[in-house]
């Protein structure tokens, strides 16, 4: 059994899905011979041929639009946008067609496609390579949004996303592509697309995060543990649909909650979670819910990008403020 990284979990799931279903086709810029700029599709074209792994012309609208067309005609395209910023031209087809195809035709046509792209900052990349646009996609009806934060979840969630009969946006936190290795059994077992994952049990406070910020969130939990404070850490994993039940249940036990997201604060997923707690968890709260987020600014160029992103210190300060309320 091999220990693999998150991105290797992606590759493993892609290969597995292609093996089991001949309608699965991978397409995107440089996904073929080159194996993707991050190597997510490494070896797939050699193994499955250039009719299953298609290099595309350099045209993101085309990738999204043709994926919609292929999906509506019985294929399962797994398209890659090379970076999060390049998903923006695709939004017309994601929002106006992929998310609406089944509803528009009263179930006659559907759109079982996956759009994967690396997201988030922290790898010293150029402009438009470091954003976290999950809230944009989470606001779209008919679209699922998934962000794994471990090799096993990358494997299991991507398999589920590809097998899902409806469109899924699969955002890969590239800062932690190679952060951790863990054993992943290539057994074809998928993970559910509608639940949060509790990474660490605790009774004093609930920390909720997803994607690459899980790294800082776990580090903050470690720091708290050294002080004798037990934090429960929840990886949301599936942004849409959002599993509020797990979060509300946890906060019901801890009475306190801090939500950590890399994306800008305003109208972000953290705000939706905070609203969900206000709606259904208010009476178990012992302190205000705090959000630690990226600023409502443009993601700065790489020399300043770590200043933008929530740090362990910022997370701990918010936690301290929440814990101080008695």
């Amino acid at each position: 059994m091999a220990e693999i990284t998150l991105i290797e979990g992606v590759t493993l799931a892609l290969a597995r899905a292609m093996e089991e279903d001949s309608s699965v086709v991978v397409l995107g810029e440089d996904v073929g011979v080159n194996g993707g700029v991050f190597r997510a599709t490494a070896g797939l074209q050699q193994r499955f041929g250039n009719e299953r792994v298609l290099d595309t012309p350099l045209a993101e609208v085309m990738i999204a639009g043709m994926s919609v067309g292929m999906a509506a005609q019985g294929m399962k395209p797994v398209a890659e946008a090379q970076f999060c910023g390049f998903s923006m031209p695709m939004i017309d087809h994601i929002m106006c067609h992929a998310g609406r195809m089944r509803n528009r035709t009263r179930g006659r046509l559907s759109c079982p496609m996956v759009l994967r792209f690396p997201s988030g900052g922290g790898i010293h990349a150029p402009e438009h390579h470091s954003e976290s646009p999950e809230a944009l996609f989470a606001h779209m009806p008919g679209i699922r949004v998934v962000i794994p934060s471990s090799p096993a979840r990358a494997y299991g969630l991507l398999l589920a996303a590809i097998r899902d009969p409806d469109p899924v946006i699969f955002m890969e936190p590239k800062r932690i592509y190679r952060w951790q290795k863990e054993e992943v059994v290539d057994d074809g077992e998928e993970l559910p697309l509608d639940v949060c994952y509790t990474l660490r049990d605790g009774s004093d406070i609930t920390l909720v995060s997803w994607g690459a910020m899980i790294k800082e969130t776990l580090a903050a939990a470690d720091e708290l543990a050294s002080r004798g404070i037990q934090a429960e850490v929840i990886d949301v994993a599936t942004i849409s649909p959002l599993d509020m039940d797990t979060i509300i249940e946890s906060v019901g036990r801890t009475g306190r909650c801090v939500i950590i997201q890399e994306a800008p604060k305003h109208c972000g997923v953290a705000s939706e979670i905070a609203a969900g707690l206000a709606d259904a968890g208010l009476y178990s709260l012992l302190a205000p819910v705090k959000r630690v987020c990226g600023y409502d600014t443009v993601m700065p160029l790489y020399r300043s990008e770590m200043k933008y992103m929530p740090s362990v210190r910022r997370i701990l300060d918010a936690i301290d403020a929440v814990l101080e309320v008695s």
Partner: protein
Amino acid sequence: MTDRSNTFKVDYFQFLGVDGNLVQGVKVPPLAKDLDRLKELYKLMVKTRVFDKKAVALQRTGKLGTYASSLGHEAAHVAIGSAMKKEDCFAPMYREYGAQFCRGVEMSDVLLYWGGDERGNDFKNAPHDFAWCVPIATQCLHAAGAALAFKLRKEPRVAVSVVGDGGSSKGDFLEAINAASAYELPLVLIIMNNQWAISVPRSSQNHAATLAQKGIAGGLTSIQVDGNDLIACLWAMEEAVEAARAGKGAVVIEMITYRLSDHTTADDATRYRPDDEVKAAWEREPLIRLRRYLTQAGAWDDAKEDAWTAEATQEVQAAVDHYLDQVENHPQPVTAMFDYLFKEPPHDLIEQRAYAEQYPEDGGHH
């Protein structure tokens, strides 16, 4: 530096003149002699126009929402539908009713859609075709994706899409041309050049001599036809569809026609379009010249015209009755907006659905 942008030739085809005679000095395709087929297609053109007139009337009397008329496009539309095989795939824009009727879309489907009911998109007899597509030119890429699916599965099927002269300015259209070229797709892209993109005339889209030449830039066979000449449209479509099916690559056809109606019933073209131009365009419209041709050939006469118009009117009325019965007596419940979003709805949507059920008729005041 020499300007060569308009020095190459884009072939233009017209076989049936405005006067209803075959154009002299041109090799006319054999289908011009297939009077039985031309007669059937003429009848469909007439029915489409009868339907169109009725749909506009329904909108004017408050029984239909905003409607996009197909007036003046009948030959082009019917030719598109007639040239395709059942198993092919059509990705329309939003007014190609004549083509869609050929493919099994019901008149009541059109009315349901523009009447604000999604059931109009559930084409029972055209199960693979895409629904009407309001975001301009996006349908070109859906057709390209369909064509890629057919090619990868080695199915002898062709995808056909239509875009307007305005839509030909969009990236989606150009990216579809590029993709068709890159992947040698079984795709036919039709530019329905009806001279007007709402209020913007063809001359304001760009100063290229033709719109078809955008296909040449992508390496595709690209031609122009008289879009009011059924014979030319049908010949071009059949050549293009069969070339695409035979693996010879995609084709771009610019069909030159004229939007005799407003853009939609929400538009008033008299604000921006000279009456003289419209009057002149009526001289070139597609039905009368084909009627003259068929009449001269002995395949049609006034009595047949009257009888068929009456029959078509009855058929249209039956569609209207079905539409009104659906929306008035069997409207979709509030839950319908939840039931087709996902194959397996997530739990929060199930909760919202249950909540909405408590307010089945609520929401605003008309």
